[in-house]
């Protein structure tokens, strides 16, 4: 049983989250740093360049990195205060084992003993139940080297099909749709192409809060004359001054895209030459959107017909454009259809593969792009190869020095792994860079499955909420304690540089994985001495694949301030922009710019279906979830940084005053949000900047403040992304503050 060993409040007392504030060296104005280290932010996919100030093996502050071309010194508040995660009182300095008699329920354990115990348990479980009974959960905030190693560790060392990653909650709908339409999964353009686009279409992306640096690109485009169209159920800061705001009813985006394409066809706002020469499948899509008249589109989406017509006209008549989307489009049980709908507008306009004609999905995690390319995904091998493809298996098996037949077949997605725990098929788990108890939907289900595991080992630098269920906790490394590459929102491979050494017994994550392999007696292929050695193998493993990194070196990354993949040889500068006319790729072999054998892009019929759980008389309100700027993902880092918690201390239920008034709720009242799966009592935030039929709650908090107690585990049938953006709830004013307030609020 892996229930938590002691009461939550006792764990928090010992392991946090506690809040780090500026103190000592952070406040000393006369302190000269020992060195400034050029690196990047540890949080989102923008991957802003930053310099870390280091004194006595501690990161004590930052200095802007003005020369890094993407952000030119700009940072959001998370980047500014990220250094406070260093030398944090909650930092795990030893391995721990679960022990209800120890303070906080975990007792320090010598590192080697912990590794031996992990290896013994993996061996026991795999011997008793088969290799597939042990699963791995990994993450896209890791460097690409680590993600590569995790995939190899699963397939070669543990021989389990069951590895998946938290990009499953993030990028997979966009990835699947991009592969269907373009044959490649990467943002097509550098962000500099935003600057002179005539129309910028932003769907389902709270740009200002979730990808803040992109804001300047958009405002700069506006100064250059661009019209900005924003589609969102909330008037987010980026929507506040846009030229056209379309308050879409959550879950109806694909209907809007189909309606726009309908109008483009009606008014002949099409690039016929492009459609004919570079695409297939237009006729079927044209037929499909016939029924999406402006009137029907307006009825389904909740957007005024006039606005839909205006958007179609601007988009249709533009000479240049950039379409951006993020999780608002993708976190749906039909997320892939939404994205395909958006891509159809790009292909019909022919505005792709040229300067200022762009398309991109905004990555969420720091390595949201690189973390989904090199094999930690259930069905994937390095170089964006497919684990189900015999040729791909043969190539990678050769690089790894194993028999292709020994590589497992594709496994299942991260949520399905928990269903397999329920079914008793998975008995053991290793997690790194993933906090599923906070980040997965219907978290009461997730918790029950954690409690059933025979053995669970978590690698992390803080004791995250999921790790509280672990039998063994291994002390991993912070971002600033290791080096390696990540790939940014633009497809730019950049280098994370090490600023400080791991404290105490903590180890760089790749060393921990290799130590486990060694303790299992299967160290062959896991004897790297440096991340650069892992990267060199990754380059070979990716060679000839779609995500070809073979020509990228650390030296080139630093010299060019990043290298855009694909980069198939050392004398190749990288690929700034995909799909340029006449460009070569390994799939089309010169037949065209898109990554299919005929070189042509694919139109795909994008079908509308309502959300898996639509509102009804019992649950009449739509719940949608997302982020706030001062917090990041499951909050395991940002809920420990005092100034960020000060900025937005607790999750609020954002609702329109019309709705609040009908329910007798005033601003700051306690309100219970209840679905068929669970409930959550939080304070109300009554604002006119949200649709009156929808409430919004940010998901960064844990325990009784986690909105994922309420969300639904419905998933897209293709991408398996959960439907975080829509479920049905009812609201009522709470008679009194929830019980957790008194117990937990002092701790956050």
């Amino acid at each position: 049983m892996t229930t938590i060993p002691v009461k939550t409040v006792e764990i928090i007392n010992q392991f946090g989250p506690h809040l780090a504030h500026m103190r000592a060296a952070n406040l000393d104005t006369g302190l000269e740093p020992d060195k400034l280290v050029y690196t990047h932010c540890c949080f989102c996919g923008q991957q802003c360049g930053i310099q870390l100030k280091v004194k006595n093996n501690e990161v004590i502050g930052f200095e802007p990195w003005y020369d890094f071309p993407f952000n030119r010194g700009k940072l959001c508040p998370k980047g500014v205060k990220r250094y406070l995660q260093g030398a944090h009182p909650d930092r795990l300095l030893h391995a721990y084992e679960r022990d209800p008699s120890a303070p906080g329920g975990f007792k320090p354990l010598a590192y080697d003993q912990a590794i031996a115990r992990v290896a013994a348990e993996i061996d026991r479980i795999q011997t008793a139940y088969g290799p597939q009974a042990f699963a791995l959960l990994s993450g896209a905030s890791l460097t690409t080297e680590k993600t590569y190693l995790m995939g190899k560790f699963a397939r070669v060392c543990l021989k389990t099909p069951h590895i998946d990653y938290n990009g499953r909650l993030c990028m997979v709908s966009a990835a699947a749709a991009n592969k269907k339409a373009f044959g490649i999964d990467r943002t097509a353009n550098p962000w500099s192409d935003i600057l002179k686009a005539e129309v910028i279409w932003i769907s389902g992306s709270n740009v200002a809060e979730c990808s803040p640096i992109t804001t300047d690109y958009i405002w700069q485009a506006r100064e250059n004359g661009a019209k900005i169209i924003v589609v969102d159920p909330r008037i987010t800061p980026i929507a506040r001054t846009c030229n056209l705001f379309m308050p879409v009813k959550p879950g109806r985006d694909v209907a809007l895209f189909n309606g726009i394409l309908h109008l483009m066809i009606e008014h002949d706002w099409l690039d016929h030459d492009f459609i004919e020469q570079h695409t297939v499948g237009f006729e079927a899509v044209a037929e499909h959107v016939k029924e999406w008249t402006p009137q029907r589109t307006a009825e389904v989406t909740g957007i005024a017909e006039r606005a839909i017509r205006q958007a179609a006209e601007w988009w249709g008549e533009a000479k240049t454009s950039f379409l951006l989307h993020a999780r608002g489009l993708e976190h749906h049980s039909h997320g892939v259809q939404n994205v395909l709908g958006a891509i159809n507008l790009i292909l019909a306009s022919g505005r792709i593969g040229r300067e200022f004609c762009g398309y991109g999905t905004i990555t969420g995690q720091g390595n949201g792009q690189g973390g989904r390319e090199h094999g930690q995904k259930a069905d994937q091998l390095p170089g964006a190869r497919d684990l189900g493809n015999p040729e791909h298996r043969a190539y990678v098996a050769e690089v790894w020095g194993v028999n292709p037949d020994d590589l497992p077949q594709p496994g299942v997605d991260a949520y399905e792994l928990f269903r397999k725990m329920e079914a008793g098929e998975i008995k053991g788990l290793l997690s790194i860079c993933f906090n599923p108890l906070v980040s997965l939907p219907d978290s009461n289900f997730v918790r029950r499955q954690l409690e059933q595991l025979e053995f669970y080992v978590a690698i992390d630098f803080f004791l995250n909420e999921t790790a509280r269920h672990a039998d063994i906790v291994l002390p991993g490394s912070l971002h600033e304690e290791d080096e390696g590459v990540v790939t940014t929102v633009e497809g730019r491979v950049i280098k994370i540089n090490k600023a400080v050494d791991c404290p105490g017994e903590a180890r760089q994550d790749w060393r921990i994985i290799q130590d486990i392999a060694k303790a299992l007696g299967r160290e062959k292929g896991f004897t790297f001495n440096r991340p650069a050695e892992i990267f060199d193998e990754l380059r070979v493993a990716s060679r000839g694949g779609i995500a070809d990194y073979s020509g990228i070196t650390y030296e080139k990354v630093e010299r060019q301030m990043g290298v855009f993949w694909p980069c198939p040889s050392e004398d190749h500068p990288g690929t700034l922009r995909l799909f340029e006319p006449g460009s070569w790729n390994p799939v089309a072999q010169g037949k065209g710019p898109f990554y299919f054998p005929d070189g042509k892009a694919r139109f795909n019929v994008a079908s509308y279906s309502p959300p898996a759980e639509d509102t009804d008389s019992d649950y009449p309100i739509i719940l949608t979830t997302g982020r706030v700027i001062s917090q990041f993902l499951s909050g395991s880092q940002t809920r420990r940084i005092g100034p960020l918690i000060d900025q937005y201390p607790e999750p609020l239920v954002e609702m329109h005053p019309v709705l609040a008034e009908r329910l007798g709720i005033a601003d700051k009242d306690w309100v219970t949000v209840e679905s068929r799966r669970g409930s959550c009592t939080l304070r109300a935030h009554v604002v006119k900047t949200i649709r009156p039929d929808t409430v919004f709650v940010p998901y960064h908090w844990a325990g009784r403040r986690s909105i994922n107690q309420v969300t639904i585990a419905a998933q897209d049938p293709i991408s398996k992304i959960p439907e975080y953006k829509v479920c049905a709830v009812r609201l009522k004013k709470a008679a009194e503050p929830p019980e957790y307030v008194q117990e937990f609020e002092p701790y956050q």
């Binding site: 200002a208 509102t615 019309v658 329910l663 009156p692």
Partner: protein, 216 residues
Amino acid sequence: MPVPAENIFFVDPRRCIGCQACVQACSECDTHKGQSMIQLDYIDRATSTQTVPIVCMHCNSPTCAEVCPADAIKVTEDGVVQTARKPRCIACNNCVLACPFGVPKMHTRMSLMMKCDMCYDRTSVGLKPMCASVCPSQALFYGTREEIERLRPQSRPINSFQFGQQMISTKVNLMIPKETPLEYVDVISAMHQPAIGQDIFADILMADLNLEETVQ
């Protein structure tokens, strides 16, 4: 060393996204570490996400210095109004009350008025101030007049503000839409106008909704 004359501070609240990167970065500035000197406020969060960042405008005739009975507030020769001199400041709050922009802050624990000094430790050696360095939306911009003209063709800077009888000109500029026929901002009368867009927001979001069904 003086601030290079060509670099100017520009504020464009239309760009502001309320992210507080400026507030967080301000407290990293070496001259007042741990204290943020910038203010960022919602105009009216119940109706809009509009926020406005307020840095010291560095008035050409700074009211704060003029009302200081202890002559504690000094202006550098390049026009940057500084935090009160510690040995002189008597913590009387005159400056706090008098500043029309509400910039000086009294730190009672230190008995000292502190304010934005445009990161003088940085700007005096050619670096950008912390807030304008990090600002993701570049609502806070630090650069030359040529740069701002090239980068912001739809906007223009003004630096005159009227508060009742008092007309103030400032070193820091406010960006306004180019076509706006203003020579100065009449702040007092602007305060009595409703936040722009209130009605629009209500209309957009209320259109085409069947509320009876939603909240029965």
